[in-house]
């Protein structure tokens, strides 16, 4: 569905975001959170909330 040009532009944005400090900090915090049983439960619950919001939109 996506043209090659659009796909490349979207992938470039994703890769730029991935290497940014803010996303790296987020991914690092997420990894720490997943390693902590209590925090992992909270993170899982937030994931469910995001899924539910997606269904509503």
């Amino acid at each position: 569905m996506l043209t090659e040009e659009l796909h490349t532009a979207a992938r470039t944005l994703g890769e730029t975001l991935h290497t940014s400090d803010v996303v790296q900090k987020y991914l690092s915090a997420l990894a720490d959170c997943k390693a902590d049983p209590e925090a992992a439960a909270l993170e899982a619950a937030q994931g469910i909330i995001v899924d539910q919001k997606e269904k509503l939109h």
Binding site: M1, E5, L6, A9, A10, G14, E15, T16, Y26
Partner: protein, 135 residues
Amino acid sequence: MDVQPVISPPITQPQTAEVLGTARALGERLSQTPEYRAFMGALKAVNSDLTAKKLYAEMRAHQNALQRGCDADGQHAAELNRLELEMEDLPLVKEYRQPEKEVSLLFRAVDEVISKAAGIPFAPNAKRSGCGYGG
């Protein structure tokens, strides 16, 4: 005592500028797609239709009443429902729904690519809070 002026750090860091630059490039490409152009054309047509404007204004009045909790007898909810149906029945609104669906599919496909490359779900994290109708 001499007071030295405080020099604020630049608001836009180089890294942020790079992200914004790639985002802008993607936005420009998206704005050139047939799906986006068709959607914007249909949206403009709906937004400049007098009947749609009138219905929208009436809907807002009922929505405001509902948000204030002024609907003990359910009349505002019923009227809002009736107006929504009337709005959906307008030929221009019917014509708007197809390009709306197509541009949404396009944006979702783009979101999947961004999210996969970024390593985090992009769209859910990019949402602004609040809600609105056509805002």
